[in-house]
Every structure is written in structure tokens, then in C-alpha cells.
């Protein structure tokens, strides 16, 4: 089990290999479909981003409402492929990592190599367990998007697995091949 803290340096990303189980501590940002659209619109218009994503990790999540006394509701990953069209530009900008579930496009995998980034998966459906590792949650951009707003999460030992590393390896492909019976 590897432990990392955010923001990530190139050296930290290079140390991660597809298949590694990793615990993340520090700040991560949430973002899904609508927030990505706006972030890219800002980049294209050469406007500053509402949060500095350089070295940071975006978590693809739309949490359930928090019960009173809880910092956040259940918060498991959503399917990453919907964010694929926006991802290479964010990696080029300096974002270092993403957390979601499911396969990425060849363009994203190539961008991870080119810009030294990493794609993690969190366990889909383990949302109550994952929420326990989120200590603090505040909305920092795009309030009007409701559950799709960008939130700043303070996490401790947030459990993920490296799917795509910066060397072009892909756990989904390799893992399936390894256990396939014909």
C-alpha cells in the first residue's frame, strides 16, 4: 500500500504503477460533466480557473446529501468516460490526477504519458465507506450547479487503485487478460 499527499509532483506520479493500491491524504477537488464543461470554457477563453488545479486531483463524484452531523453524504465515483473529452486539456494545464471508475479513451491515456499524470479508480458503490475518509467538504466554485458544483475535499487515507499510470500501462486491460479463461 502506497501513501501519497496532494498536490502531486512529477516524481510522485512517476512512482505510481498500474495496479498499485494507494491511500491519498490532502486536498482533492470534485468535478463532473457540467463543471468540466465550464473549466474548459474558461481555459479556452484564457480566463483564470476558479480553483488552481496545478498539481491537483479531480474526483468524479456527485455525492448524496449529507445527513446532519456528517461532512458529506455517500460519495463513490461516477463513470469517468463522460469526462474524457475535457481531460487532455486539463492535464496539459497541469492537473496531475483523476479519480473515477471505468475505462478512459486512448487520447486520455496518451495525455497521461505526455504530461505525467495518473488515473485512479475508487471502488464504485463503496460510497458509505469512502465518505468516512472525507473529513471536510466546501463548495469552492459553480455553486449554481448544485451536486455538480466544484467542492474542495479534505481527505485522509482515501483508498484508490492506479488504473492508468504515466507509462501507458492499463490495469483494466492487464488485469482482465491475467484472469481470463478461454
Amino acid at each position: 500500500m502506497k501513501k501519497i499527499t496532494t498536490p502531486l509532483t512529477d516524481a510522485a506520479v512517476k512512482d505510481l504503477k498500474a495496479g498499485d493500491s494507494v491511500l491519498i491524504t490532502g486536498i482533492i477537488y470534485t468535478g463532473r460533466d457540467s463543471a468540466h464543461k465550464r473549466l474548459i470554457e474558461a481555459l479556452n477563453a484564457k480566463q483564470p480557473l476558479p480553483v488552481d488545479l496545478k498539481g491537483q486531483i479531480i474526483y468524479y463524484v456527485g455525492p448524496a446529501p449529507a445527513k446532519p452531523g456528517y461532512p458529506i453524504g455517500p460519495a463513490g465515483p461516477t463513470t469517468s468516460e463522460r469526462m474524457d473529452p475535457y481531460t487532455p486539456a486539463l492535464l496539459a494545464y497541469g492537473m496531475k490526477g483523476m479519480i473515477g471508475k471505468g475505462n478512459r479513451t486512448p487520447e486520455v491515456i496518451e495525455a497521461l504519458k505526455k504530461y505525467t499524470g495518473v488515473y485512479f479508480a475508487a471502488v464504485g458503490g463503496a460510497a458509505a465507506l469512502i465518505a468516512k475518509r472525507i473529513k471536510k467538504c466546501e463548495t469552492v466554485a459553480y455553486d449554481d450547479l448544485g451536486p455538480e458544483a466544484v467542492m474542495k475535499l479534505t481527505v485522509e487515507d482515501f483508498p484508490v487503485v492506479v488504473v492508468n499510470d504515466c507509462y501507458g500501462n492499463d490495469l483494466y486491460e492487464e488485469g482482465m487478460k491475467k484472469y481470463r479463461k478461454t
Binding site: A64, P74, N103, L129
Partner: protein
């Protein structure tokens, strides 16, 4: 005519929504546990353990096991001898869903129009399937269904010449193409027969069965076993990281069909195969 009160339906539906999302069935938890004995991948085993722990947290604290608390799919068996008093049946169901999703801190995931996409704010409308049956009871089953697994589902209008081999190929291929997206280990609902709209319903309805239950028709019990074995040979494994436990169960629901047709539907469910039933 036996009377069923509007408000009793509302209250019961609200509770079913919360219970379905927070109290993961023992059949599912037991299948995670037996999966631990079969799984060869260390990461796969670790995920099954996390899912068991997740279900425990969810049950102990009454918080949803998954943040995608789904569309409220409702199956009604309405006894011909009952009468709803104080309001309309479907209004009561929708009022119950709105109440349950609000009071249970469940996520509201319904938009009022597929293109204009404005959230309705209370997770209504519920998607209601109704059968009129003999008797004087109202049976309500709530099966919240998440988007990730639903998006991996498909209907194919196979023709009789495709035979069982054609069905098998379609089902396994659908699972292979889904990979990690529907949150494996999955439950695979297969509808065979009927027509275009009926077959999707059959696949969905099959997902109400408990894991470990055996199809009452030995012919289909055998087919379910064969499909499960094929799917678990794919190597997709828990969360798609590679492993043995890709599916926990395959359920088939068959129905009469046209001489020229053999419609087949695959409705994939995630490991949180949520459904709760009440009889009023």
C-alpha cells in the same frame, strides 16, 4: 372492496425507498462472502471486503450504500379487490418517493426532460409497472436503479435461428463491453421472448430475485448457470481490475413470443442490487 389509505401508501413507499438504499440484502452480503472463497486476485478480494464493510456502515448508520440512489423503479401488484381511498394510487407512490428521497437524504437524480435536463428536485416521477392480480392486497416493490449499470444495458431483436448460442454470445459480449462501468461484481438480468418493449421489462423484473435463488424451470436454471460460468471466465473481476468474480448471479425471465422473433434484453445491475417489498 378492501380500502387502502392514500397516506399509508405514501408512508410505506417512503420507508421502502430508504430501506432499499440503506439496508443491503443478506443475499448480497452472503454472495460477497462466498466470492471471497472463489476470488483469486488479491485486489479483487480486497474490494469484496470493502463492499462488505460498506454495507455494514450503511446499515448501522442508515446512510445509502451508494451515492447513486437511482431511479425509483416501482413494481405494483394491485389486487382486484382493493380500492385506494383519499387519493390516486400513482399520486401516492410519487408522494412516497418524494418523501423518502428527502427524509432519507437520498440523491435526487431525475431530470424532467431528456434534452433540457432540469432536475425535478424530488426524484419523481417514479417509473411504475402495474399488474392487476386476484386478491385484496397491494404489493409494492421498490427497486432503485443506478445510472452506471443501466447505461450498460441493451435490447437486441435476435431471430430464432440465433438460438441459445446467439443469446449467450450477446449476453457475454454485453458484459465484456461494459467492463468496469457497471461496478462489478454485477447481477445480470436477461429477458428472452415477448416483443421489443416486453423483453426489457422481463430483464428488469428478473433482477428482483434473490441471489442464490434457483429458476423454477430446470431448463432455465441450467442456462443461468451456464451464463454465469461464461461471464466469470471473462476475467473482468471485481471493479474490472481483473479476477474471477465478475457476476454474482444471472437471472433469466422468459415469455411467449412471435414465430419470427426471439427478442433478448440484458439489464445489468451493480452489486448493490437494491429492492424491498411491502404488502398492504
Amino acid at each position: 372492496m378492501k380500502e387502502v389509505k392514500y397516506q399509508d401508501i405514501v408512508n410505506r413507499v417512503a420507508k421502502l425507498c430508504i430501506d432499499a438504499n440503506c439496508l443491503i440484502g443478506d443475499d448480497i452480503i452472503n454472495s460477497f462472502k462466498s466470492g471471497l472463497n472463489i476470488e483469486e486476485s488479491p485486489t479483487g478480494k480486497d474490494i469484496l471486503k470493502q463492499l462488505i464493510e460498506n454495507a455494514e456502515i450503511s446499515k448501522n448508520e442508515i446512510i445509502p450504500a451508494c451515492q447513486d440512489t437511482g431511479v425509483a423503479v416501482v413494481f405494483l401488484e394491485v389486487g382486484s379487490g382493493i380500492k385506494v381511498s383519499g387519493g390516486e394510487l400513482f399520486d401516492a407512490i410519487n408522494a412516497g418517493v418524494a418523501k423518502g428521497y428527502k427524509e432519507g437524504y437520498l440523491r435526487k437524480s431525475i431530470v424532467s426532460d431528456p434534452l433540457r435536463r432540469k432536475n425535478t428536485g424530488d426524484n419523481t416521477p417514479a417509473f411504475i409497472h402495474t399488474e392487476i392480480v386476484p386478491g385484496d392486497t397491494l404489493k409494492i416493490t421498490i427497486a432503485p436503479k443506478g445510472g452506471g449499470s443501466e447505461n450498460m444495458s441493451e435490447v437486441k431483436m435476435l431471430t430464432p435461428a440465433a438460438g441459445w448460442e446467439g443469446i449467450k454470445k450477446f449476453v457475454v459480449d454485453r458484459v465484456m463491453r461494459s467492463k468496469a462501468n457497471p461496478c462489478p461484481p454485477i447481477i445480470v438480468g436477461v429477458g428472452i421472448g415477448g416483443n421489443f418493449e416486453k423483453v426489457a421489462y422481463l430483464a428488469k423484473k428478473s433482477l428482483l430475485r434473490d441471489i442464490g435463488s434457483v429458476h423454477p424451470d430446470p431448463f432455465y436454471a441450467e442456462k443461468e448457470k451456464e451464463l454465469l460460468e461464461e461471464i466469470n471466465k471473462t476475467g473482468i473481476g471485481p471493479q474490472g481490475f481483473g479476477g474471477r468474480v465478475t457476476a454474482l448471479a444471472v437471472f433469466i425471465e422468459a415469455y411467449p413470443c412471435h414465430i419470427a422473433s426471439m427478442p433478448t434484453a440484458v439489464n445489468i445491475n451493480c452489486h448493490a442490487a437494491r429492492h424491498k417489498t411491502a404488502i398492504l
